[in-house]
Symmetry: C2
Subunit: 368 residues, 2 copies
DNA sequence: AATTAAAATGTGGACGTACACAAATGGAAA
DNA sequence: TTTCCATTTGTGTACGTCCACATTTTAATT
């Protein structure tokens, strides 16, 4: 049996202790700790040796308390009128903001319309004019985001990405889901044990210009990878359908047409956005029953549909956590000068009707 | 479109500000904040009004820095030689311990053998003799844990529970999974799309006395709830098998006998502990293929079996997070005097081969 | 009115770090 | 040796809160 671990040391090593041991003043130790220069090589070596040997770690509370420099961050994410999803990310950012407000860090929020790249472009102008110390944003529009990132780089303003990733953008960090894997997982859940010989509906929300969001496109790629790997087309008929953000009746009509064309019954459906609840509404209107439906994100409407059984699985991605972590990452890098990772994948959470309540409550309480 | 949110106030309200506004000294404000008494009703009301109105929230860094009282916590969990599971909980506790070591809080670890209630009893004696400020423990043995909790209560030592819950224990908090729901979920995953007319293996790890652990028993209950609700027995043959912690060859023999008795092929198996990898080993030895296997916890061996496809789903429960949160909860209640919740369920995480890597990495990085 | 105890209120130092500024040191030039 | 400058080193205060202790006010008793 493993032995009991005895009491650890109670008094932690302080800067003054190091100074005493090295025979110098606390100021000199401080200069070494912060690489401020103006220290003779011998003393520097001596102090560094002590720090190393005794594993000095600064008291985070004292440090935070005495750090003077105020920082201004700016966040730029879609507005949260159309869907509740972005509201979660905002909440996460706000939670982090509260937690670190004792650091004298302030975060200004800017928003854009996720279906209108002009609004994104306009917002970036405002952000650039503010000259913040760092920018948090979501590269929903790939090309425009690359241009924005370049402008930030010119002004020496670091940035972090949230929700979706653009590899070519030179940022401090990215937090979000591995879109390909989450699409692959959707396929796995959809086809496992699904009776063969039926049709499956593959739905996409597209913008007015006919293009899906960065994320949606990648998810579909992941889904199709599974389809190819498992040779799904041999056993199932895959039917594509584009839905538009506006014009709800038209969507219903198109769905009806597509379903009508199917030669076999539709037994599965997937949508690569958080609009599952709408898809489910339409399926109900068409009186299609027994369809295994899979969609994204724990919006209240989606959770309701999950509980009634109209949605079989929801794939969630901890948006609040993403917002929270992205801010904490900035803090680590810019204030504490600690290294972090460029790409940080949030887990692919699989939700069913029986576990969704605890999932939501847990995330809720993490934010208290 | 939602309007941009302007810069928030940069300078936060301090105790001295409140004192100035109320026309008193900082000491008086402090007495109100901590309910230390010795304040006239009028001034108290005035100060409280200001605190309320201006939404004063103390600077956590300054607070932590100046709090003097050292605290000694003790953790009492199974030793981690037999299975890696408890090691994760210990890691979580250690992570929290590091994070709060600036609070002058120390945690002493004690261990017991999860298959031997005498070792638990012996350990509790040691813990009681230490007179700690709080105890973290896992009520693996229900009766013995209730007795222990009563003794703690007599000595006015608060406790928190981790991993498994005993409703009747009067503790500050519990962090762990909703065992019934996780068992129910196992059934859901096992039977969804499983070809009817086959047999399903229901495996239990039992202790020398023939009893399963607190958790395992509850999980099985949850599983059986699903079986009853969905009238599973009409379509599947359910076969029970008890495995013993020691005596591996014997287990294989028993498995062989049980499988031999089945009149239909075995197409599913579940085990209510983290010993899936052993079950899989035995299934492989018996050359049973195409069995959908479900088990618990992200132990390296289990993850390996998940990736090779021998295990279909792992149900995980964030043990590190549990250990971490349980310590943080103690901090909140005992140091900051903040209210928390008694029962805190950790989500039921469903892992598949394609998403397990990101899941592990994410949890890993949370601990950095 | 004077004395005393009790209650209310104020004061100042400590926590450990950061950083501005003051002081000391050493070497080169006068 | 003195003067000057550059470099190194030391000192002291601020950050916001907590809490022990000192001081003042109030009320009760003689």
């Amino acid at each position: 049996m493993k032995e009991d671990i005895p009491t650890e040391e109670i008094q932690r090593l302080r800067i003054t202790d190091i100074a005493r041991l090295a025979g110098v003043s606390p100021g000199t130790v401080d200069r070494v700790l912060h690489n401020r220069g103006h220290v003779s090589p011998e003393k520097r070596a001596k102090i560094e040796a002590i720090i190393e040997k005794l594993d000095y770690r600064p008291n985070v509370f004292a440090r935070s308390l005495s750090v003077k420099k105020a920082m201004r961050f700016v966040s730029l994410i879609p507005n949260f009128e159309t869907t509740g999803y972005w509201d979660y990310i905002r909440k996460g950012i706000n939670k982090a903001q509260k937690e670190i407000s004792d650091h004298r860090i302030i975060i200004e929020h800017y928003f854009f319309d996720q279906y209108d790249n002009r609004s994104f472009h306009d917002a970036t102008k405002k952000v650039l004019a503010k000259l913040p110390d760092a920018v948090i944003f979501s590269p929903v529009f790939i090309e425009e985001s690359i241009v924005f990132a370049q402008k930030l780089e010119q002004k020496n303003i670091p940035c972090v990405l949230v929700d979706s990733n653009v590899e070519t953008i030179n940022c401090l960090a990215y937090y979000g889901q591995h879109s390909l894997k989450s699409g692959y997982t959707a396929a796995h859940l959809l086809f496992t044990g699904l009776p063969p010989g039926n049709a499956v509906l593959l739905t996409r929300s597209v913008r007015p210009d006919g293009v899906g969001s960065n994320q949606a496109v990648l998810r579909e790629q992941g889904f199709m990878t599974y389809v190819k790997e498992k040779k799904i087309r041999k056993n199932y008929q895959i039917v594509r359908l584009d839905l538009h953000s506006s014009n709800t009746e038209n969507n219903l009509k198109r769905l009806k047409t597509v379903v009508g064309k199917c030669t076999v019954p539709v037994s599965g459906a997937v949508i690569f956005s958080s609009k599952v609840y709408r898809l489910v509404d339409d399926l109900v209107k068409l009186k299609l029953k027994g369809v295994r439906v899979i969609g994204y994100d724990e919006l209240p409407q989606n959770v309701a549909a999950l509980k009634t059984g109209h949605v079989s699985y929801l794939i969630a991605q901890r948006p609040e956590m993403q917002g929270y972590l992205v801010v904490k990452d900035l803090l680590k890098q810019l204030v504490y000068k600690q290294p972090t990772h460029r790409t940080n994948y949030v887990p692919v959470d699989i939700l069913t009707k029986e576990i969704v309540d605890e999932y939501l409550q847990f995330n809720q309480r993490l934010n208290e």
